[in-house]
């Protein structure tokens, strides 16, 4: 797929024009912080469900899983299920209290009964760690993908994504971001459904006929669990924990619950999101196996991008170059929408949590708050562009894994404990988040993903170091050390206790190629 596809560029410009129009409309309505952060709490449950799906279904879901399934068969499906199961947990445990207790960010809920300053600073550390690592993954993914799809220069692609995304957030705030997510979710779901129908049409609309053909061409093992994605029992559990609880600790997802008017609409929005995202992941079964059969494993690998071209190539195979162009534009739109949501949640954390509640002690005028939020959005947008360029060629799968690991071991336990545990203390909350974030980073650095896969150290050398750092290998050791911290700290640690395996194990290693 070398050479630029004029139709892809045309579709992309139509999307940009449409979303900038929405931004213009939203900008006229965004006058207060309530509008900027929460779209005036006027989004319906159904709309927010679509927007949540748009925020969540990154290019990793679409291109990454399709590629994983196309190349590995069954093993790729572990991600399709893992990335969905966090949603019912958000519904049962988090959505309603979050909406009832908070205002703009999830720190509002963690700090609800506690001392504002230390808890908010810690929560912003957790938020920024997730937002920045995820932004890097998305920007690097965008640059690589656009280079493949449109034959555009990497740096130019990253700058375009950064500027368009900043425009949405800066002028249109949450209202524009919400509608960008809704448009993107409709395009992505629509595109995936059409693609799946075109594939299934060649197999008499019978998915098992498609799977049977895949097994006939590539051997029965494509329908069976292999060893490529999950290498051991503990890796499987660790991967499951990271995917499941990571979802419930992503700040840009949590922030969306403030856009609806009440807890009932928050609840309804999660159900809609679960239906859309689950349906989409079921479709990835068909897209992945479709690419395996109709495009072929060799061609998918040969196209570059670590399997991420599977879905666009499939579109080309079943729908011709026009449909290929459409799917490419959808993939671009997908990245654009996700980075906008991330930037907005980062800006909210810096402005609402740090500036207003830590620096100003909760006293700041609307005008000042809006100004600071917009400055924060610009800073984050520039950071995203610069980091995207610096991290060119980095292992994106690792960054996405890092994001989910931090979210699962820092943000999620602090949030759940703040909601459930009346004796949760300021010290406990701060320890939970800071320790969760720092230990994830440190343990990931010590783990095989970095030491073996990225730094190319010998596995035997790494194993020697593990003797010095036993916590990452044995959870019991970890809990022993935690007991000494005492009652309050214990629960905070228990929440982050999964981190040893989370970081060492599967999560970061194989997550879909592009964030």
């Amino acid at each position: 797929m070398s050479g630029s596809n004029p139709l892809a560029i045309l579709f992309f410009f139509v999307f940009i024009a449409l979303t900038l129009g929405v931004t213009y409309w939203a900008a006229k309505r965004t006058k207060t912080t309530e509008h900027f952060y929460a779209a005036g709490h006027g989004v319906t449950g159904f709309q927010n469900g679509l927007a949540l799906a748009g925020d969540y279904m990154s290019a990793a879901s679409f291109l990454g899983i399709a590629g994983l399934v196309a190349l590995n068969g069954f093993d790729g499906l572990i991600y399709s299920t893992g990335w969905l199961v966090g949603w019912p947990i958000i519904l049962f445990l988090i959505a309603e209290p979050l909406r009832n207790l908070g205002k703009y960010t999830f720190s509002d809920v963690v700090a609800y009964r506690l001392q504002q300053r230390p808890v908010r600073i810690a929560a912003v550390i957790g938020t920024m760690a997730v937002v920045l690592t995820y932004l890097i993954a998305q920007m690097v993914g965008a640059g690589t993908l656009i280079k493949l799809l449109f034959s555009l220069d990497y740096t130019l692609a990253v700058v375009i994504v950064g500027i368009v995304m900043m425009t949405y957030v800066l002028f249109g705030g949450m209202l524009a971001t919400t509608w960008v997510q809704i448009i993107k979710a409709c395009l992505l779901l629509g595109g995936a459904v059409v693609l799946a129908v075109l594939v299934l049409a060649q197999f008499g609309f019978n998915p098992t006929a498609l799977f049977a053909k895949a097994a006939e061409l590539n051997g029965k093992q494509v329908l069976e669990p292999g060893t490529k994605v999950v290498t051991g029992a503990w890796d499987a559990v660790s991967l499951g924990l990271a995917l499941m609880f990571g979802t419930a600790g992503l700040p840009h997802i949590l922030m969306r619950f403030y856009t609806v008017p009440d807890a009932k609409q928050a609840r309804i929005s999660v159900v809609w999101a679960t239906i859309w995202i689950g349906g989409f992941y079921l479709i990835t079964f068909v897209l992945g196996f479709g690419a395996m059969v109709l495009v072929g494993m060799k061609e998918v690998v040969g196209a570059g991008g670590g399997g991420n071209m599977a879905a666009p190539l499939l579109a080309n195979a079943v729908g011709g170059s026009a449909f290929f162009g459409f799917i490419c534009a959808v993939a671009f739109a997908t990245i654009l929408a996700v980075v906008a949501g991330l930037t907005l949640s980062g800006a909210a954390a810096l402005s609402h949590d740090i500036w207003v509640n830590v620096v100003k002690g909760g006293q700041a005028s609307e005008r000042e708050q809006l100004k600071v939020a917009r400055i924060a959005a610009v800073i984050l947008g520039v950071c995203a562009i610069v980091l995207g360029i610096i991290f060119q060629g980095q292992n994106i799968a690792y960054m996405v894994g890092l994001t989910f690991s931090i979210a699962a071991s820092a943000n999620f336990p602090a949030l759940v404990l703040a909601i459930f545990w009346r004796r949760f203390t300021t010290w406990g909350a701060v320890t939970a988040i800071v320790l969760g974030t720092v230990s994830t980073l440190v343990l990931l650095y010590c783990g095989p993903t970095i030491q073996v896969d990225i730094l190319k150290n010998d596995i035997a050398e790494v194993s020697k170091q593990w003797v010095v750092l036993p916590a990452q290998e044995s959870l019991p050791d970890h809990y022993d050390s935690v007991v000494s911290v005492g009652d309050r700290g214990l629960a905070a640690h228990a929440g982050t206790g999964c981190r040893g395996r989370l970081c060492r194990g599967g999560a970061p290693r194989h997550l879909g190629g592009i964030g």
């Binding site: 499906l77 969905l84 947990i89 098992t208 799977f211 669990p225 890796d235 499987a236």
Partner: protein
């Protein structure tokens, strides 16, 4: 607040249902993951031509997310919201309290 407070009783019931459903979700998903890790032979069984038990259970895990979510939201929309509204109307505690 005493524990006989009707609003608290309803809130406690909501947490019980939410926790039971969460445990079910965890059991289903980790059941599937543990089968992937330990039950390779079982998941490799072909039910029909092209459909292995693993693919079927993966799809059913997604469907179970839908079912559990729908069970919760239907209960919450029909019973919980109504019970909370009634309890708030009956109590003499100051307005504005959230369940």
């Amino acid at each position: 607040m005493s524990t006989t407070d009707p609003v608290h009783a309803i809130a406690a019931k909501r947490w019980t249902i939410a926790l039971v459903l969460s445990v079910l979700m965890l059991a289903i998903y980790f059941g599937f993951i543990l089968l992937v890790a330990f039950g390779k032979g079982l998941l490799s069984i072909l039910l029909t031509q092209g459909l292995s038990l693993g693919i079927l259970l993966g799809a059913l895990t997604i469907v179970s997310c839908w079912i559990l979510s729908l069970i919760y939201v239907i209960w919450a929309n029909r019973s919980y919201d109504q019970a909370v509204a009634q309890a708030i109307a009956r109590t003499t505690t100051p307005a504005g309290r959230k369940p």
